[in-house]
Amino acid sequence: MVITELKPIEKIWQNIADFRKVLVLGCRGCSGICSTGGDREVKLLVSALNLIAENEGKNFIALGQTLIRQCDPVALKVLPEFLKEVEAVVSLACGVGVNLIADLYPDLKVYPGTDTLFIGAHVGFGVWEEKCRACGDCFIDKTAGLCPIARCPKGLLNGPCGGSQTERCEVNPEIPCVWYEIIIRLEKRGELASLDEIIGPKDWRLTFGEGPRKRQREDLTF
């Protein structure tokens, strides 16, 4: 899923301080699942914003709503129903939600309430880790299913670098050296020789593209 984190409250407030009515819009997709923008967090942010407004002596009211997701126009269809007298929206979805709302409702002022961090997995209570960088050209079939682009700070394709010791990463000793793990696993499988082949330079167009990347599945388009 896409991992997000609540922005510092001061930054959120800065954008909406001068409005009178603001909708905090949650998302039950990734953002809800990683406890950044689900129903519970919407309630908290609404309450906090109202308190801040009171402290600042502003004529302000925050409302809350949560959609099943914000990255789909179908799910966003109901949004206008919640917008009565609302002057701005703070989205607690990932950056995709904010963008799509802005695309679909050009006249609506929509602000991000979260920072979108990475594509990752829930690896322990309250802990999420990056596992994929969406490079557009997956080659982890060669690396025992572990992605060095996402999980090696230098993104080495022919690792490990000369710094790994005691199986930890030299850049960040908190994390294991992913190349160490790749090698151990391939060795166990008896496939270490597959690494003797030099993995060639990556085609970064698939990652950075020419502008936003697009996927089209012909049998679903009209």
């Binding site: 409250i9 407030w13 908290l44 942010l45 309450s47 308190l51 801040i52 009171e54 402290n55």
Partner: protein, 111 residues
């Protein structure tokens, strides 16, 4: 002490007459300090309380093991949601050692 005070107190610690008598202090008893929710605290502040104390058992004596510690983290979350505006309130976690004869009031007045 200024303004209204709300106290969330763990049932284990019992209630104290000295507090019951005071008009500026509202006492809410929880089965365990760990039952406290972030939302409850924010709501209380919205209702006009200036000070919120959460009173849990001394570290290591919580009957649900880490309920008291959890309560402290929840208070930290409250502060995070309020950012710099949290400074305008007194939001505190108090660990009370009944055996030493500490009383709630002592703790609060001392603070």
């Amino acid at each position: 002490m200024k303004g209204k005070t709300l106290m969330f107190v763990c049932r284990e610690l019992g209630s104290e007459d000295g507090i019951k008598d005071r008009e500026d202090i509202v006492l809410k008893t929880l089965d365990c300090a760990g039952d406290l929710t972030v939302f409850e605290v924010l709501k209380a502040l919205e209702e006009g309380f200036q000070q919120v104390f959460v009173v849990g058992c001394k570290k290591g004596t919580c009957k649900s093991r880490i309920g008291n510690l959890r309560a402290e983290k929840r208070m930290a979350t409250v502060r995070r949601y309020l950012g710099k505006w949290a400074e305008g309130y007194r939001l505190e976690m108090v660990y009370l050692n009944k055996e030493k004869g500490q009383t709630l009031l002592d703790q609060i007045l001392k603070a």
